[in-house]
């Protein structure tokens, strides 16, 4: 408890006090309180919390908000929050906080549904289309109050900025309420029907299965990312000094694409294309890849085949779609001097132009066998100089804007230098130093 800042302690204490005030009528109410419903719903809520990764809390609380007056709804939320598994210490403060937060949210939702919008506590067939709106409103209020209170504790206890605490998680928090509002209404409706509570509780089963599937989906997606990393790892087996390069190119490609307004599945595809752009190097003989010193024309020709090998390897991955072209064409240049096909200008697919800039940028800002890492501003100046001839100026400008906004974390560890005598840079001696421009660390998503 004492590990928390004073502001957080005060905030939590206020919330607990407010929740207690909300629930007080139940203690005084005596026989008027519908104890049967309160106990059953609270038990279901608590059971739902203990189930592994099947959050039933939201639909149960919405059903409670529809069925019960505010004070009783506030009590329903308490047992579930108290038995819920808590990952970090101080465990009991967290549990208490969750109980207070859920109680307040449930009470508010119940107030909005009943006294606020005047919907009946025992809905029946006659009130069906009309009661939908109050039910959805109750769901939204429940989610909104919960999210606002959560944001408050993030601000006071962890010192987050108001923007990250409140604005960012809001849409994701409100969306489920739109679905669960009608579900809660349905539960209430069946509860008061001749079929009674067993039928009402059946409503919750599909909801819980749905969240179970979503959880499996999340895990499968993580596994997929691991698989992609394994592909990259396979390249590392052959060409060790590019370690980390692929991931950084993927990251830089995403930064550029976001500036260009690309989103959704296309963005994901581009991230994978950026990460896998050098996959074709697997097909280049290890001896050529690791060769110290100048390459013969023959060897260079072999290396220049790697985009085609890479494209061939990812041919079966359906969702990459247009991003596959990025792997094939990421060495094309705007003036047509690139390879493998010597495409020029707008013949080069958009994604390939993105990956080309990201690739060049990371190659310059990390240490290679033939050159040392350059600071970010120097690299950007170089890119700017070559934009129009090699790179698409739009992509370069987007990268500059994105780095201004998000910063860049270049290669952390400089691998031991390999003795490559030939340096075809005439811009050597670029001091290896901390990157100057906006090097805030990449946040990597809300934690």
């Amino acid at each position: 408890m004492w590990a928390l800042p004073a502001a957080a302690r005060a905030y939590i204490a206020c919330a607990v006090l407010a929740a207690a005030v909300c629930a007080a009528p139940v203690v005084r109410g005596g026989p008027a309180v519908p104890w049967g419903e309160v106990v059953l719903l609270a038990a279901v809520c608590a059971a739902g919390e203990r189930l592994p990764r099947r959050p039933l809390t939201l639909p149960v609380l919405i059903a409670a908000a529809v069925l019960l007056p505010p004070a009783s709804a506030a009590v329903v939320a308490v047992p579930g929050a108290l038995v819920r598994p808590v990952g970090r210490r101080p465990a009991w403060v967290r549990r208490l906080w969750h109980a207070a937060r859920s109680s307040l949210a449930a009470a508010a939702a119940s107030y909005v549904y009943g006294p606020g919008l005047g919907a009946p506590r025992a809905p029946d067939a006659a009130c069906l289309p009309a009661a939908l709106l109050p039910a959805v409103a109750a769901g939204l209020v429940l989610a909104l109050v919960g999210a606002v209170l959560d944001g408050g504790v993030l601000v006071t206890a962890e010192g987050r900025s108001a923007r990250t605490a409140w604005r960012a998680p809001m849409p994701a928090a409100l969306a489920p309420a739109l679905v669960h509002g009608p579900t809660g209404l349905m539960t209430a409706l069946l509860w008061h029907s001749p079929y009674g509570p067993p039928a009402a509780l059946l409503v919750l089963l599909p909801v819980s299965v749905s969240s179970w599937v979503q959880d499996r989906c999340r895990r499968e997606r993580a596994a997929h990312q691991a698989t992609v990393r394994a592909l990259v790892q396979a390249v590392d087996l052959k060409d060790r000094y590019t370690r980390g390069h692929s991931e950084r190119v993927g990251r830089a490609s995403v930064l550029i694409a976001r500036e260009l307004g690309i989103g959704g599945e296309r963005l994901e595809a581009l991230r994978f294309a950026g990460t896998l752009h050098d996959l074709g190097k697997l097909a280049v003989p290890t001896g050529v890849l690791r060769k110290d010193g100048p390459l013969t024309p023959e060897e260079r020709r072999i290396i220049e085949l790697h985009p085609e090998y890479g494209h061939e390897m990812v041919r079966g991955i359906g969702f990459l779609d247009e991003a596959r072209a990025a792997i094939l064409h990421h060495h094309e240049r705007l003036d047509g001097t690139g390879y493998p096909y010597g495409l020029a200008g707008r013949q080069i697919p958009e994604f390939a132009r993105v990956v080309a800039v990201a690739d060049a940028f990371d190659a310059m800002t990390s240490t290679r066998s033939y050159s040392r890492a350059r600071p970010v501003p120097v690299a950007l100046a170089e890119l700017d100089r070559c934009s129009g001839s090699h790179f698409d100026p739009r992509m370069v400008a987007a990268l500059v804007r994105a780095l201004d906004r998000h910063g860049w974390q270049p290669e952390a560890v400089i691998p031991s230098s390999r003795n490559v005598p030939v340096d075809h840079c005439s811009v050597p001696g670029a001091p290896v130093g901390p990157p100057a421009a906006g090097d805030r660390t990449d946040r990597g998503g809300p934690g």
Partner: protein, 528 residues
Amino acid sequence: MRTRPPQDLTCCDAPACRAAADPSAPPGDAPPGACPAASTAQAGPERPGAEAPPGPSRGVRPPGPQAPQAPTAAPAPWPGAGCGLLRPGRALPPRHAPDADERAPREAAPDAPEWARPGGPGRARAGGLARGVHVVAGLTAVLALAWTAWRGVAQPHVALAYGVLIALGEAARRTPRGAGAGARETAPVGSAGTLAYALLGEVGGEPASHGAAQVVAVVLGATLAGAVGRPPALDRLARRVLNAAFAAVCFQPLHGCAPSPSYPLLLLLLLALTALCDAVLAAALTRSRTGGGPYGPLLREELRALPGVGSAIGAGGVVMALAVAAAGLWALPVFCLPLLVTQLSVHRYEAVCATRRQTIASLARATEIAGYTRPGHARRVATLGRAVGRELGLSGADLTVVEHAALMHDIGQLSLPVPVPAGATEPLPPEERRRIALLGGAVVRRTGVSPDVVLVVERQADPYRDQPLTARIVRTVNAYDDLAGDPACGPLRALERLRLATAHDHEPRVVEALAAVLARGGPAPSGP
């Protein structure tokens, strides 16, 4: 060969740029003064696909060799090194030889007697069974349609509401791209709507008057209407019709029961029975599709899939029937919302699974394109391994382990500076093979697949007694594919050689299962 014109240097002598765009290109190797056009012309013919017009076909692979092989990048081709898998030094005890000689021709011969081909008779019966199921479902549908047409549609608005719901659920159904044999098509909204209509006893307090025949007719019509343009698989349609008929007929005695809290439990019991019958049917159909093999594991697989999405479908069906009984047809759209969410998340999950399978497949293809293994090797080993695993009665999870491990079993070879001839690691010394297997295991561990897959990849070079069954399958099938692809050996002799190696390297049971699968004409094409 690929040269940079002098003006290139002035425009961007930018070593950094060049370095970035072409990290492997030191400037020194460009003959001075070579013009870009000449260099292109020079490079052109040797490049795969360079003859393709660059413009319109960008992003599309031009017609050309599937896996471009650069002259020096090309690994040693598959030399006719004979069946190098079993070197004379590791020859097997002679006592196995006559045994193998006696069995090999019989097992592999296509005209072997039925009793000699374990899967043979079973397959014929199962194919007939699938046809039988289709015929029964068709008869049921025709009878139901005729009956409904004769008697007229009772309570048409209810029929229409449920029909629209089922049709919408079908329309929202998607088959994930690239889904393999393991994918299970699910349409929770459509299935739950079907069950709900079959179990509907009342509508808003008034008794429902539709009979079992009308249920089947409406369900069939709605399913077909929702799948316009994408005809549903015959198996699915047959299952749905039989399911609806079964549930509706079983529900008839409950029709008119007074509503009470025990009523939902009765309905649930009925649904559990329906689900059980459906699983039995589905397993039988799968078996007839995949060509024989033991029935038990298939049924177990079907039953294991039930508690997940199946329970949501069942509960959804019951609730939709009860809610409509209590609150009228308005309950239908309201309750279809959570089911729709379930359906969408199932679809997304299936899409992610399919993508992951494709990514694993391209990891497998990497070794082939890199010239370490023969084209299609990993895919063949995976398909054949799955068939052998099914023959041995492995469950779904183990089959997935076999498939994934087979796809990735050669990854370790990428660490070799020079590819092994023909990608066959068997002739290498055992220590070297173990080292490669361990390296492969280290990469596979990163893929996030289950530890069992890693174990199989790591242990693939061990003698079979030290391996789990899945690894034995991968090892044997891998050896078979290496041998059979060798023109000097061929499938028959390959099988014979495997039989000769059953003392130490290959488990006899697995080799026999492989022979059984091959005797049936190889693994069945995956998927319906």
